[in-house]
Structures are given as C-alpha cells and as structure tokens.
C-alpha cells in the first residue's frame, strides 16, 4: 500500500531564516505531487504541483520554491522566511490527474 511521509511535524523558525520541508511517497511510482498551505479559516491553497522529476508548476507568487530531485521526493524551500509564511503545510500525492489526492499529516510552521 502507498504511504506518504512529511517531516518535521512542527517547526519554529525566526524571520529571515531558511526553510526546507521534505515529503516522500512510498509504494507507487511517478506520482503527481502537491504542496498546499492551510491557514485558519481559509481553504487549502495550492502552492506547487509536479507531474514528474524536475517538473514544477507554481500557483502563487511568493518567496517559497519547490523541487523534485527524485521520483517520490518533494521539497518545499525558502531562502528567507517571512512572518506571513506561518501556517500548516501539507504534501499530497495522486496516481494521475483523475484520482483523488492523498495527504500527509502536515508540518505546522511558526515564523517568529
């Protein structure tokens, strides 16, 4: 069966520090991969998605970036965090463009 791992579960970082969140999927190959952010009282906002290694689509202009160095690895990064980057970050995967997304358990990021 397929599983998705996200880490860390929680993170507190000062403003201006770098960020690296990692997500890996097991039990499937060539999945579609997604990064979402969830803010209190708002719906999940799609940040990035990838249909293959090295293929990244950005949905929202911001100081975050994403990379997919391996088939089942998706990384969310920032060079300098802003207070507004605080939130709950969720990684997800799907088999193809018709299938539901399956989410990891998220990373709670607090920028201080």
């Amino acid at each position: 069966s397929q599983t998705i791992h996200q880490w860390p579960a929680t993170l507190v970082q000062p403003v201006g520090s770098p960020l690296s969140l990692e997500c890996t999927v097991e039990g499937t190959s060539n999945p579609n991969l997604y990064w979402y952010r969830q803010a209190a009282g708002r719906g999940l906002q799609l940040l990035f998605y990838s249909v293959g290694i090295g293929q990244i689509s950005s949905e929202v202009p911001q100081n975050l970036s994403a990379s997919r160095p391996q088939d089942r690895q998706f990384i969310l990064s920032s060079k300098k965090l802003l207070l507004s980057d605080s939130g709950f970050y969720l990684c997800a995967w799907s088999v193809d463009h018709n299938s539901p997304l399956h989410f990891g358990n998220g990373t709670r990021l607090t920028v201080t």
Binding site: N32, G43, E59, A92, L101, F103, G106
Partner: protein, 110 residues
Amino acid sequence: EDQVTQSPEALRLQEGESSSLNCSYTVSGLRGLFWYRQDPGKGPEFLFTLYSAGEEKEKERLKATLTKKESFLHITAPKPEDSATYLCAVRRGDTDKLIFGTGTRLQVFP
C-alpha cells in the same frame, strides 16, 4: 471564477441526530467532486469522489450526493467519533488542481 462554498461553517449535533452538510460549487467543466475528513492537527483523509450529477456514494454513516450545482454529505445517526472538519473540493476539467472549500466543523456530543 471557480468557487467552492461550504455550509454551515460549524454544526453541533447530539449523538444519533442526523443532518446534512452542503457544498455549493461554481467551476468550469467539473471533473470530480471530493469529500475529505480532517481531524485537528492532521492532514485531510479522503472519503469520496463523485463525478456526475445523480451519483451517490456511501461509507458507514456517511452518504455523499451530487447535483449540477451542489453536493451534500449526509450523516446518519452520528457518533462522537464522527467529530471532525469535513472538506469539499472540486477539480476543473482542464487542470489537475483541487479547489477546496473552507470546511464544516462538526461536533457530535454524547
């Protein structure tokens, strides 16, 4: 503009008191409507996919239905363990992205 609106924002039920959650949507070329359950501090858990008007899906005490403008999640005789936030999402015909509503927070009291 694509939009997903869920109501009510919050719902309190007594155990055994059946009710329905609503998801209204506006999207170009619907290619799937998805229901998720999210527990506090966790990622959303997939429940159902509906693809066409008139379709219904069931799982234990939950039943999801779809029309051309909205979907309902019916909860029959809920139990306290059904307490969670329920999210609705739609996929537009020309994209892989899911557009989410803000959810309904359900609390079921014994």
